[in-house]
């Protein structure tokens, strides 16, 4: 009893103090001379709890890497696709086999035919002078050059060929490539890197598309050969875009489009390029040696000075009747490619006999500029004769040596269209001995232009050849397409 009383008194005093502290309005405690409110204690405790929770790691379910046994099971279960799809029934696999030179008259599968399938525009296949220069080259240098340009693969005929082409076109320098299509798909990635802007025609052929893809730049396509579409695309890309002045900008066009036979209006393109400050890359495979008064290409045809076009590339497998390609432009442009163009640095150089064939071909063109007017009259004659073919219409330019015939009315499905055209080509070959071909597409090609029959006109075709072709084509297409129209 005596012990309890002081304890009870002490408890009562403490309780009284605590309740006074809590009940007193605006209770004030003084700690070390600083005033502290009661609610501040609570807030301080709250902040301490929050900080404590924040510093703890959030809850993550524990990560369990796959065990070896699980990986083994996954590897056993995995079934890969076959490397290639199975052969489709009735797929056309055989191409006609030539047994002589691919001139205007050639032997296909044993019989003599009129050949409209080779891009032999200047008739240089079988030319005596070119064959003699090749024979001389073969006896001196052998066939191959056995090395890339950097490692003793540069032979003096290569340097002569580059100088000759540069002089012919009027540019400071040029560079030779060993394969026609590798020219453009090595040049574009050498100059266009990630972050650059390229405006390209939607009808460019596969090699250009591959170059654009490899360059990793931003590519914008405009409607095929439509200058209004090009102007509006350029306007959209540069309007209000301050950054556009610091990055490189290119327009990529072909002079004569392989997929349609149209010719790009170079004067309009140069005017737009100068207005919006773009550079032009021009692919001249089918117009070098064909367009212009002396065969110097699209720039001569339109009267545009050659310095205004920044980069010109061309394959030599068409008018020049040899193989390989070249690129030409200013000294800076050409020099840069000698170290950074992958198709030039990492590949063996052009066989020397093909380079000497190119030199002889350019010589021939310089000495005989009259072949160009003969070629133009042949093309005009073909246009006239084929203008009333039943079911087919000519959709290429009147000056283009690739005469493109497409169906007047498509059946609606590309495979049926292709079937019809192939049937026409086969029957023309079998019945009338005229060799023509359709335009073929790989499934990797993203060009959406319609397919058709492509006729390659050469200066070696005579009038009788052209009339044989037109008679045969009219007869066969009338019978094949009569079921459809």
């Amino acid at each position: 009893m005596d012990m309890a009383l002081p304890i009870v008194n002490a408890t009562a005093t403490v309780l009284a103090r605590v309740s006074a502290a809590f009940n007193a309005p605006l209770a004030r405690a003084v700690v070390f001379g600083v005033h502290i409110d009661g609610h501040l204690v609570v807030e301080g405790l709250l902040i301490a709890v929050i900080v404590f929770q924040l510093t703890r790691k959030s809850y993550k379910p524990p990560k369990k890497p796959l065990t070896e046994k699980e990986i083994d099971e996954l590897c056993d279960d995995w079934k890969p696709e076959p490397l290639c799809p199975p052969i489709k029934e009735g797929a056309r696999i055989d191409t006609p086999m030539l047994e002589s030179a691919a001139g205007p008259h050639t032997i296909v599968d044993g019989k003599e035919v009129v050949n409209f399938a080779s891009a032999n525009y200047l008739g240089l296949i079988g030319n005596e002078k070119i064959i003699d220069s090749c024979v001389g080259s073969l006896e001196k240098y052998g066939v191959g050059s056995c090395g890339p340009r950097g490692f003793y693969g540069t032979i003096d005929v290569h340097l002569d060929c580059e100088a000759k082409i540069a002089k012919f076109l009027g540019t400071p320098d040029s560079i030779l490539y060993s394969y026609g299509i590798s020219t453009i798909f090595s040049v574009i990635p050498a100059f266009c890197k990630k972050g650059d802007i390229i405006v390209a025609d939607e009808g460019v052929h596969w090699a250009v598309q591959n170059g654009l893809h490899l360059s990793r730049s931003t590519v914008v396509y405009f409607k095929h050969n439509d200058m209004a579409s090009l102007a509006s695309t350029l306007e959209k890309l540069t309007r209000g875009n301050k950054r556009a002045e610091k990055i490189r900008r290119y327009i990529v066009v072909e002079s004569i489009y392989q997929n349609s036979g149209q010719i790009a209006p170079l004067d309009e393109i140069v005017r737009l390029k100068e207005k919006y400050r773009f550079r032009v890359i021009l692919e001249e495979s089918h117009s070098f040696g064909v367009l212009g008064k002396s065969g110097r290409g699209l720039a001569e045809h339109y009267g545009v000075p050659i310095e205004k076009i920044d980069i010109i590339t061309a394959g030599m497998g068409n008018a020049l009747a040899t193989d390989g390609g070249f690129c030409t432009g200013s000294v800076r442009v050409v020099d840069h490619q000698r170290l950074s163009s992958s198709g030039y640095v990492f590949s063996a150089s052009l066989p020397p006999y093909l380079a000497s064939a190119a030199v002889s071909a350019v010589n021939y063109l310089e000495e005989n500029p009259s072949v160009l007017s003969n070629l133009r009259s042949n093309i005009a004659l073909l246009h006239k004769e084929l203008s009333d073919t039943p079911g087919l219409e000519i959709s290429s330019h009147v000056l283009s040596p690739i005469v493109f015939l497409k169906l007047k009315k498509s059946t609606g499905s590309p495979t049926t269209d292709l079937d019809l055209l192939e049937t026409i080509a086969e029957r023309v070959l079998k019945e009338d001995s005229v060799f023509i071909v359709t335009s073929k597409k790989s499934n990797l090609d993203r060009c959406k232009l319609p397919i058709g029959i492509r006729l390659f006109v050469s200066v070696g075709h005579t009038e009788s050849d052209i009339s044989a072709l037109s008679k045969s084509l009219k007869g066969v297409s009338a019978s094949v397409l009569s079921d459809y129209f």
Partner: protein, 490 residues
């Protein structure tokens, strides 16, 4: 593998650092001087090459430009006429003279000696030139398919040991256009870290995912395969459509063979497809010249796709793919180089046909077998002598490609110019074809080199090596005499 001693690494890094510092200093002054000149009409156009992109070209490579791109005036045979050149402005521009000097050719890819005019091949090539002319001016699927092309495809398939083959006009384009036709988005390509640029371009152009495994490291290849099959495609984890593993027969910068039997067994275990690029090994190695499969005893039916080029051993141009009939049929329908590119030039096709006939002995002589034995003997002799002299030589036995390590950037031009002065044409390779610190000189042996040629070559290389200081290993003769001395004492 290359063992880089620390002292060499430090001195090489220091040299490159000095060169970069001077290059940047020169650029700095050039910018100051140029800013005072009036602007040209290229205002508002971004420069076609930004300053830092071709820094290496302008400041480092141009100093030693005369060691590369040397023009020759003869066939790339065992002895060549190198055209002499001079420069008046410190190698910025180089001019040709009309003088030539006759040098021993240790740089061209002429493994079997078909580079110059050959007694069996050249008359037939000229005949085919007169018959078919230099070019067909047409793509293969249109009017470019001649009797010669079909004959060569059958011959190549028979030579390599596969059912069918397809021909293309350029080796580089073969890789970069076939790989996109075989695999696309949703597929996986696993390629060796030292694969050639054409394979890298083809893999990038295909749209498939690409993973790299350490050079010739089979354990790492297996690890990558297991991880990739288990994980599937990134982010979605769907299984891959197919996996292709790409390796080369001989790696041209290392001279090494690939470990083909192990690669095949790993790929079979994990159901991946194999693609073998035999650009340097077809025709040059193996008892009958059939390449790395012949040498290592691998059945060609185990490799899914075999690719090769005709530039190196057959003295022509172009490439081929050999595989099963279905794959070749599929490629003929889809490969862009087959459908869009001018077909291979007929005389070049005839050259390959004649060369393969010589190698197989079908021309009626045993010149082919003699050439194959000669190149094997030449390569092994040359490699062992170089090693005895103390050079650091890479590569396996039987491989005709021999890189000699240089490392230091100053040794590159000194070795090359010294060799040229003593009438040997050697090839030096530096960045970007090799890693920055590992520049090398590369020797390619040919079957048309005689024993005297090789001995002369060894003498000159030894002298040039002494001048440049690249004999990193002790000379073997000293080692053997030391051992003999020990034996005598004992």
């Amino acid at each position: 593998m290359v063992r880089l001693p620390y002292s060499t690494a430090l001195t090489t890094l220091f040299s490159y650092g000095l060169l970069f510092a001077f290059g940047h200093l020169r650029d700095f002054f050039r910018r100051i001087i140029d800013s005072r000149k009036p602007t040209t009409n290229l205002k508002d156009y971004a420069p076609i090459c930004l300053g830092h992109e071709d820094f290496y070209t302008r400041r480092l490579f141009n100093r030693v430009q005369d060691c590369c791109n040397r023009p020759i005036a003869s066939a790339p045979d065992a002895w060549i006429d190198v055209i002499e050149r001079y420069s008046n402005d410190g190698n910025k521009t180089i001019h040709r003279t009309s003088k030539t000097s006759r040098c021993l050719n240790l740089g061209s890819y002429n493994y079997l000696g078909f580079a110059a005019a050959d007694e069996y091949c050249t008359p037939r090539v000229i005949e085919s030139l007169k018959k078919y002319s230099a070019s067909t001016c047409s793509v293969r699927v249109d009017g470019g398919n001649t009797k010669l092309h079909i004959e060569l495809e059958e011959l190549v398939a028979r030579f390599v040991g596969k059912p069918a083959a397809i021909l293309l006009g350029m080796g580089y384009a073969t890789n970069s256009t076939i790989i996109p036709a075989l695999i696309g988005k949703g597929g996986l390509i696993i390629s060796d870290s030292l694969n050639h640029n054409s394979i890298v371009n083809g893999a990038r152009g295909s749209g498939a995912a690409v993973r790299v495994f350490q050079h010739n490291n089979i354990a790492h290849l297996e690890e990558v395969l297991r991880e990739q099959i288990a994980q599937g495609q990134p982010r979605t984890h769907r299984p891959w459509n197919k996996i292709i593993v790409i390796v080369e027969g001989i790696y041209s910068m290392e001279g090494e063979l690939c470990k083909l039997p192990e690669v095949i067994s790993v790929c079979k275990k994990y159901k991946a497809y194999t693609y073998l690029d035999e650009a340097h090994s077809i025709g040059a190695i193996g008892k009958s010249g059939r390449g790395v499969c012949d040498l290592l005893g691998v059945d060609p039916a185990d490799v899914d796709i075999m690719m090769g080029t005709f530039t190196k051993s057959f003295g022509s141009c172009g490439g081929y793919i050999a595989a099963s009939k279905e794959i070749i049929h599929h490629l003929k329908q889809t490969c862009p180089a087959h459908i869009y590119a001018t077909s291979m030039s007929p005389p070049a096709v005839q050259q390959v046909i004649s060369a393969i006939k010589v190698i197989l002995g079908e021309d009626g002589t045993n010149r082919g077998a003699k050439k194959l034995a000669q190149i094997r003997e030449n390569s092994n002799f040359f490699r062992s002598e170089l090693k005895k002299m103390g050079f650091e030589v890479l590569g396996d036995n039987d491989s005709p490609v021999m890189p000699i390590m240089l490392y230091n950037p100053a040794k590159i031009p000194s070795f090359s110019r010294e060799c040229l002065r003593l009438n040997v044409a050697a090839v030096v390779v530096a960045f970007p074809a090799t890693p920055l610190l590992l520049s090398r000189a590369r020797i390619c042996i040919s079957a048309s080199h005689t024993r005297e040629d090789l001995i002369k070559g060894l003498e000159v290389l030894s002298k040039a090596g002494d001048v440049s200081g690249i004999k990193y290993f002790p000379v073997e003769q000293e080692k053997t005499t030391a051992v003999e001395k020990l034996k005598k004492i004992q």
